[in-house]
């Protein structure tokens, strides 16, 4: 008998945390870990979901959103962190909030070695830039962590990245 995998609940909990935080603009470059969340944001009439050509566009876009009074969130995988670095100077220097939700690669059981340089260093590089890190390792804590990160970003005018550990996203067995 084939056992169906139970659907993961935390993407819906991230979506609920974004709604409770009054996030109106969601910018993203797709990642498999963000499939359900992107679909929820695209379907919500109260959100503008914007597909980007590169992640740094989202940093600039959400600066504009904040200028206009909207809260936003930026979704990406860890390799996208590297595309954002200089653009982070805009929210950091201007003391604008920035909420990033990053699915991690290059760590738990990674099978693609090309993901390692950015995956293994994304957290440190963000911290070096002055972005605060909240890491989520367990499914039950994801929604709470995103909600807390949103409050930190929007109430304290700072940049916060929620890192969703690869362990949370699942192990892809490459030996089969």
């Amino acid at each position: 008998m084939k056992i169906e995998p139970t659907p993961r609940l935390w993407p819906g909990e991230i979506f609920q945390a974004l709604k409770r935080s009054d996030v109106r603009q969601v910018a993203y470059v797709p990642d498999a870990g963000h499939v359900e969340l992107i679909a929820s944001c695209e379907a919500d009439p109260g959100m503008s979901a914007v597909s980007l050509t590169t992640e740094e566009e989202g940093v600039a876009m959400l600066a504009g959103a904040w200028l206009g009074g909207d809260r936003g969130a930026l979704l990406m995988q860890s390799s996208g962190v590297g595309n954002c670095i200089n653009m982070l100077s805009v929210p950091l220097h201007c003391r604008m909030p920035l909420l990033m939700i990053v699915t991690m690669r290059g760590e738990w059981g990674e099978f693609n070695p090309w993901q390692l340089p950015m995956g293994q260093n994304a957290e440190r590089v963000l911290q070096d830039m002055g972005v605060y890190i909240h890491r989520a390792n367990h499914a039950e804590e994801v929604g709470q962590i995103v909600y807390a990160a949103a409050q930190l970003a929007f109430s304290s005018n700072c940049a916060v990245a929620v890192l969703l550990s690869q362990r949370l996203l699942g192990f892809k067995d490459w030996s089969k």
């Binding site: 050509t53 566009e57 600066a63 504009g64 200028l67 206009g68 009074g69 200089n86 805009v90 220097h93």
Partner: protein
């Protein structure tokens, strides 16, 4: 204009900025780092947010603002080098099709800030052509004051996204604006647009 176009810009960038700003009305403006920000300083306004960094940010900052303020007109004014660094924004904005957004590139075909090296626009790349191929509702390349006068109302009235490359000469000017603290510029803009209560809640 076609890719083989060899016409040169003769207009003065500060006159171009003055002509545009005189017609801005209630429009919100974002300017790109370098000369465009300095030009905007000669016609400073609390509804203008001047970028002093984040090269490549201007167009996408305009998109986020346009989405947040759908009832207001949003105009981005930036340089050709700044726009080229964020060239993917044409595709993102073309796909999004915000009706209230217009982008102007003050195109001197050089990186004037860093020593007047030629940009790709001097070597056959048409930014208006890129914008058109990305699905902008209207695009123009402007060489003369008469063409500029015809384009300015379209920046503020016609359904966007609208793009205009305005070809200017390579005249450089000193910095016109001293206020460069981003947190201050952001607070000034938000307070004027949203009111103090919402700006600082």
């Amino acid at each position: 204009m076609t890719m083989t176009d060899t016409k040169k810009g003769t207009m003065d960038r500060r006159e171009v900025m003055g002509t545009i700003a005189a017609k801005r009305g209630t429009a919100l403006m974002v300017t790109g780092l370098g000369s465009a920000t300095y030009d905007a300083g000669t016609v400073d306004h609390p509804n203008t947010f001047c970028l002093w960094g984040g090269m490549g940010a201007a167009a996408m900052t305009g998109l986020g603002l346009a989405l947040a303020q759908p009832e207001r007109r949003v105009l981005v004014v930036t340089g050709d080098g700044e726009m080229l660094m964020g060239i993917g924004a044409f595709a993102t904005i073309g796909a999004q099709r915000p009706k209230n957004l217009a982008i102007v590139v003050i195109d001197n075909e050089h990186y004037s800030e860093t020593g007047m090296q030629p940009t790709h626009t001097q070597r056959g790349v048409s930014l208006a052509g890129v914008a058109q191929a990305c699905g902008f509702a209207g695009t123009e390349t402007v060489y003369t004051p008469a063409e500029l006068d015809a384009v300015v109302p379209r920046l503020f009235e016609t359904d966007g996204p609208f793009f205009a490359a305005i070809k200017v000469n390579t005249q450089r000017y000193p910095m016109s604006i001293r206020v460069r603290d981003g947190a201050h510029l952001k607070d000034r803009f938000r307070e004027n647009l949203l009111g103090a209560e919402r700006a600082y809640y």
